[in-house]
């Protein structure tokens, strides 16, 4: 593989990782933000609390992962992979105890579990190859 092709390859891995990570983080920020705003407007404390909790568990770790990947790639990679595994365990226990319809399983996997895992793996491959070559 020529040096140029390798560089392009790395750049695309990184870009794809950033797109997945930022898309997922933005989606969850928007989603949970809307819930919090709705809670504030309607005065429903439960909705506000739920939105805050979801932001803390779904969105904040992705933003933190983005900062870590930007500043300290290996730490960021480890953080994103751990976040993904933790979400697999959290949702997995639920999905193996209660009935979750296939559509619910797919949606959760696509929007919640896969983004940190996929971004983490892409950054990991990019970081390892960049370090080796």
């Amino acid at each position: 593989m020529s040096e140029k092709v390798q560089k392009d390859y790395h750049r695309w891995l990184r870009r794809l990782g950033w797109v997945i990570l930022l898309l997922a983080a933005s989606f969850w920020t928007l989603f949970t933000g809307a819930e919090m705003v709705s809670g504030l407007v309607s005065g429903e404390a439960a909705s506000l609390r739920g939105g805050l909790l979801e932001f803390a568990v779904f969105a904040a770790p992705l933003w933190l992962g983005a900062i870590l990947v930007w500043r300290w790639p290996p730490v960021g990679v480890a953080w994103l992979l751990l976040d993904g595994v933790a979400l697999v365990v959290l949702f997995g226990v639920r999905a193996l105890t209660f009935y979750v319809p296939p559509a619910g399983l797919a949606m959760t996997a696509l929007t919640l579990v896969l983004p940190p895992l996929a971004a983490g793996v892409l950054f990991l491959v990019d970081w390892r190859r960049g370090r080796i070559h």
Partner: protein, 423 residues
């Protein structure tokens, strides 16, 4: 060198995966309890994030399978049960071909269990499916087969019975003074103690007297309020305290060994071992019921504040109507979710093991905040539906732990019951 390192990593990963798989599926109690506690916390956190999954409504499904013995022959009349994650139970009986079917099940994961007298409880095993079956909306899941093996009723062997010297035991209850003769006993195998307790006999008379095995919730000498008055009324009382708290089956086997010694005349020469009653309460109700399932030749049993249905306890714990005291909530959580780990709830729920029970006397205080009196009412309802002999005494205002003023009433009920079935 790099190749060796890679192999080492693969081996390490393999071992870690194997340990994780074992820890994730084993029924070994210390590991399973930790796993169940972690699962429970994760589910609580998941519910906080995603809401209560049981609030969703789906079309019901059904579950069916066969109950067979170890030789592959159908077992008819076995009680088959599955439970929801919060303890709602669904029960049926296997037919003459061993087939069972549970219709109208909420979709979810279940681990079926089955009971039949003479067999050890059976539980569904399929490690590759995490030992559960999935029931989907509007569909029937088939092939949830259960294999029942004959219960191991071996009584622990002992080679010596060591009796202590006779002492006088006295208990004062109001104006009444009760007296009995007390001796310690120890069952020994190769000088190791496999069972111990106290034998109380009436002070006067020659007998033979009917025998009561009293299973106390604390050290015997601290609970003489029970055995001394009973012995004074003309019973030989064998009093035991199951100190190995969670090894109920082991304790029950020690008691069965004591009954062997009693029948051989080694514990008392004045006991009539053909007329035996058992008495227990609260936690030791589990021992009483387990003993009745494993031992023939017991003529009557009395249970005070007993547990009859562990699934119902779990249901009440989940919906917040029961807050178990003394850290028992941690025990309940450690037992696991009843849909995926129903075995201990089932094993110690006499409500689903009624075959062969002798006449029962159930006493429960209406102010019992530890074990709800609905437990005894449930059991009484089941016994009544089967035409089995029982008495139910709901004592107004009686809490879980009785005090002096209630002792006289409880003693009277106990005496009346055992007089009826043992004299």
């Amino acid at each position: 060198m790099a190749k060796v390192r890679r192999v080492v990593w693969v081996v390490i990963m393999g071992v870690c995966l194997w340990i994780a798989a074992w820890a994730g599926t084993t029924d070994y109690v210390p590991v399973a309890a930790l796993r169940h506690t972690a699962e429970y916390r994760l589910i609580q956190w998941g519910n906080a994030l995603w809401g209560d999954p049981l609030a969703e409504h789906y079309l019901p499904g059904a579950l069916s399978g066969l109950v067979r013995d170890a030789a592959g022959q159908p077992v008819a009349g076995a009680t088959v049960l599955v439970s929801s994650p919060v303890g709602d139970t669904f029960v049926t009986k296997s037919d003459a071909t061993g087939h069972y079917r549970l219709p109208d099940l909420p979709p979810g994961f279940y681990r079926p269990v089955a009971a039949h007298r003479g067999y050890a409880d059976a539980i569904y095993r399929a490690p590759l499916r995490l030992n559960t079956v999935l029931v989907r909306p509007g569909r029937e899941t088939t092939g949830a087969n259960l294999t029942m093996v004959a219960e191991d009723l071996t009584i622990p062997a002992f080679d010596a019975v060591e009796m202590g010297l006779a002492e006088e035991a006295v208990h004062q209850e109001g104006d009444d003074l009760y007296q009995a003769r007390r001796r310690t006993y120890r069952l020994l195998r190769s000088e190791a103690v496999i069972g111990e307790g106290y034998v109380y006999e009436p002070v006067t008379g020659e007998g033979p007297w009917p025998t009561l095995l009293v299973i106390l919730p604390g050290p015997v000498l601290a609970w003489e309020v029970v055995p001394v008055p009973l012995a004074a009324q003309g019973f030989v009382v064998v009093a035991v305290y199951p100190a190995r708290k969670m090894d109920i089956a082991g304790e029950v086997d020690s008691m069965r060994a004591a009954l062997v010694a009693l029948r051989a005349g080694w514990l008392s020469t004045r006991a009539d071992a053909t007329r035996i009653g058992v008495l227990g309460g609260s936690f030791t109700s589990l021992h009483v019921y387990n003993l009745l399932q494993r031992e023939d030749g017991i003529n009557a049993a009395l249970v005070l504040g007993g547990v009859a249905d562990g699934f119902r306890i779990r249901r009440q714990f989940e919906d917040g109507t029961l807050i178990p005291a003394h850290g028992f909530d941690k025990v309940l959580i450690g037992l696991g979710l009843p849909n995926r780990a129903p075995q201990l709830y089932f094993r110690y729920s006499v409500r689903y093991h009624l075959e062969g029970l002798p006449p029962l006397c159930l006493i429960h205080g209406t102010a019992d905040g530890f074990v709800p009196h609905s437990q005894s009412e449930l059991l009484a309802g089941e016994l009544a539906a089967r035409g089995m002999p029982y008495e139910l005494h709901l004592v107004p205002g009686l809490a879980h732990y009785f005090t002096g003023k209630e002792t006289t009433l409880l003693l009277r009920i106990t005496m009346d019951f055992f007089e009826q079935y043992l004299r």
